[in-house]
Structures are given as structure tokens and as C-alpha cells.
């Protein structure tokens, strides 16, 4: 679990470099990604199912990004965009197209539906995360504008 945490941190951090995040924020980008992935893993361990695990993970991720953004006085986008990468259904896209080509319609529809469900769960997770009122986060940076 700790190994997974560290590796997901490095994975997110490297993508933050690719999108030219400010150097001082790289560690925080890595941290948000790692926390999101950790929540996802815990969800999977408790048999939440992929969709619900993704939803809780994105929700946690969004809240954490907002907290860090408030403390560090930077746009939320920086942490959210990089942190979301471990959860984006890249594997789903791959398996869906793979089974489509293999003409295995059972597996194709299984993975296709799952990819759509995961994407939907991510959408909901972010939306719930942003539904929390900004005033809760504003308390974290009184010196802001």
C-alpha cells in the first residue's frame, strides 16, 4: 500500500512536470494524485465496485485540491488536473477497443459500459467536491483577496 502511494505520487508528479506546473507546487500535485489513488485502492479493497470507488476517490481528490489551493493560494486547476490522471479510465479505453477488435462482444460491452460508468463517476465526484461552499475553504487563507 505504501509502495503504491509512493509510486502514484511519482506518476502524478511526472505528469505535473509535463504540464509545466510551477516547481514549488510539484510535490503538492504528487500528493493530491497519491491521495486520490489511495482512496480508490481502499474503496476497491472494501468491494465498493469500480464506479463507487472512483466516485469517492475523485471526491476526496477534489476536496484535497481545494484545500491545498486555498492554503497555497493557487488555482485549484493545477492540483486537480494533475491529480486526476491516475483515475482517468485509460485502461478502460484500451480494453474496450481491444475486445472490439477481437470481436468479443461480451467483453467489449462489459468494458465499454465500465469505462462510461467510471467517467460518469469521476464527473459526479468532481461535482460533489465543488458543491461544498467556498467559504469553508476561505477560512484557510484569510490573507487572500
Amino acid at each position: 500500500m505504501i509502495l503504491q502511494f509512493i509510486i502514484s505520487m511519482f506518476a502524478t508528479l511526472s505528469f505535473a512536470v509535463l504540464f509545466a506546473a510551477p516547481k514549488s507546487e510539484l510535490v503538492f500535485c504528487g500528493l493530491t494524485g497519491a491521495i486520490g489513488w489511495l482512496v480508490y485502492l481502499i474503496g476497491m479493497n472494501f468491494d465498493f465496485g469500480t464506479a463507487l470507488a472512483n466516485l469517492t476517490a475523485t471526491f476526496a481528490l477534489t476536496v484535497i485540491s481545494r484545500i491545498i489551493a486555498a492554503v497555497r493560494k493557487n488555482p485549484v486547476t493545477i492540483y486537480l488536473i494533475t491529480g486526476i490522471f491516475p483515475l482517468v479510465p485509460g485502461a478502460g479505453i484500451y480494453y474496450t477497443s481491444y475486445y472490439f477488435i477481437m470481436n468479443d462482444m461480451n467483453e467489449f460491452s462489459h468494458y465499454g459500459m465500465q469505462t462510461i460508468k467510471v467517467a460518469g463517476a469521476i464527473v459526479l465526484g468532481i461535482i460533489f467536491g465543488f458543491a461544498l461552499p467556498q467559504s469553508w475553504f476561505n477560512a484557510l487563507h484569510r490573507r487572500g483577496r
Binding site: I7, S14, V17, F19, A20, P22, T77, I93, V123
Partner: protein, 259 residues
């Protein structure tokens, strides 16, 4: 008289820079409005789309002016967004005169991307890590690391030719698939699907998806739809690239099924 124009130009230019580097519509609109307000323009309208800005100020007075900008979807640069955000904070707290703001804006816009070699290395590192996270063995991660580095080199090469995004994504994912199948054919005991999944991560439309959701959430349905279509088409292109190479591989290997 010319002051209104000057202020509006600054505000719109700033919005332009933000949008170009991948900020979401809400932030751009908010920033433009705050700057106009900070320089004491009361009567203004701002409408931002994910690829355009429309703004007008002091419509009912003699010095009325309006501006339209077309902003093509570009590459995301988070560092510039952060710097611009900082600048807009300073303008709003009146720490920054109009002339200073222009020079600062130019500085923000010219924050460079990192060195290519650094990008290549980190792309590889990211791919390797993701390959491991998605269930690959350490060996898969190592292969993925090299495939990812090659992918980034390839993307830099393509950039010079101004190819469309579709072609870039199709060719990129095809290259990744090809490389991992070649490694497999050489007899290395890899889980080639984990290698592919890890290495296509730099192409996967995570940013477009996130931005799109945030646009929807803020009620900018049109901009959200633009980004959503972008995300879906990118995913589709990746699928095409991966699929084409696997089909050809099967054909060449005489229909031998991949594990």
C-alpha cells in the same frame, strides 16, 4: 479617452493568455471582470467561450469600446496559469499600475516549458509508474519507461510538422502499441497490455475531461460541450491507433491470438 481601451485591452489580453494555457472558462471570465473592476470601469460585459472572448466596456459613453478574441485550444501550461493568477490578485489589490501590469503580463506569457530532455525523462517516469499502478510487473514498468520516453520524443518530432491533433493521437498510440508488441515478439516475458496502458497515459484526455466537467458545473454548457467532444474524440483516436496495430499484428502473425 483612450484609457478605457487600454484597460479593456489589458483585461482581454490577460484572459486570452489564461484561456490559451488551459484555464477553465469561469476563471477567465472572473479574472477579466475583476481587472476591469479594479481599474474602475463600472459598465462592462464579458462573455467567454472555450475558444473565444467577447468583451465590451462603457457601452453607453463616448469612449465605448469592445473586443473579440479567437483563442485556439492550446497546450496546457499550469505554471503560466499560476503566475497570471498571482498577477490578477495584485492588480485587484491595486499593487500594480497599468504599465507595470503590461510588462508583468509579458513576463507571465513567456514562462518557458521545461527542457525537452527533462520532459522526455519525466514522460518515461510517469508511464513506468502508471504501468506498475495498473497491475504491471516491475519489468513492464521498465519497458514502459522506455516506451514512454520514445513516445515523448516522437511527439516532439510531430510537433514540428503541425499535424492535426487526431493524427498525433492515432500515431502516438499506434507507436506505443507497436513498440510493446515488438518487445513481446522478441521474447521478453511482459504483460504487453499493461505496458500499453501505462504508455498511452500521456495521450489520455484527462485534462479535457476535467475542464469540461468544471465548465458544466459552472453553467458554461457550450464550453463544456466543446471540451467534452474534444475528450471523446481523443479517446476514440487512441482506440483507433491501438486497434489498428493489434489488427495488423494478428494478421501478420497468422491470426495467432494474443494471450
Amino acid at each position: 479617452m483612450a484609457v478605457t481601451k487600454e484597460i479593456l485591452a489589458l483585461a482581454v489580453e490577460m484572459g486570452d493568455a489564461l484561456l490559451r494555457n488551459g484555464a477553465e472558462v469561469y476563471r477567465v471570465e472572473d479574472t477579466v471582470m475583476h481587472i476591469l473592476k479594479a481599474y474602475e470601469i463600472e459598465n462592462y460585459d464579458v462573455y467567454v467561450l472555450s475558444n473565444g472572448i467577447f468583451a465590451s466596456a462603457n457601452e453607453d459613453r463616448d469612449d465605448a469600446c469592445s473586443m473579440i478574441r479567437h483563442v485556439p485550444l492550446g497546450t496546457t501550461h499550469l505554471g503560466r496559469i499560476a503566475a497570471l493568477n498571482q498577477l490578477s490578485r495584485e492588480i485587484c489589490s491595486h499593487d500594480c499600475s497599468l504599465i507595470d501590469a503590461w510588462t508583468r503580463l509579458d513576463e507571465c506569457k513567456s514562462i518557458p516549458f521545461g527542457k525537452q530532455s527533462i520532459h522526455v525523462f519525466f514522460c518515461g517516469l510517469g508511464c513506468g509508474c502508471f504501468s506498475y499502478l495498473f497491475g504491471g510487473m516491475p519489468l513492464d514498468a521498465v519497458i514502459s519507461f522506455f516506451v514512454g520516453m520514445l513516445l515523448q520524443l516522437f511527439l516532439f518530432g510531430l510537433k514540428r510538422h503541425k499535424n492535426s491533433k487526431f493524427i498525433t493521437n492515432i500515431l502516438g498510440s499506434a507507436l506505443v502499441t507497436l513498440l510493446s508488441l515488438v518487445v513481446l515478439s522478441l521474447g521478453a516475458p511482459i504483460l504487453y497490455d499493461k505496458v500499453i496502458i501505462g504508455s498511452i497515459m500521456p495521450l489520455v484526455p484527462g485534462i479535457a475531461l476535467t475542464t469540461s466537467i468544471r465548465d458544466f458545473f459552472n453553467g458554461d454548457y457550450l464550453s463544456g460541450a466543446i471540451h467534452m467532444i474534444d475528450a471523446i474524440l481523443t479517446a476514440f483516436c487512441i482506440a483507433v491507433g491501438v486497434g489498428a496495430v493489434i489488427t495488423i499484428y494478428r494478421f501478420v502473425m497468422g491470426g495467432a491470438l494474443l494471450a
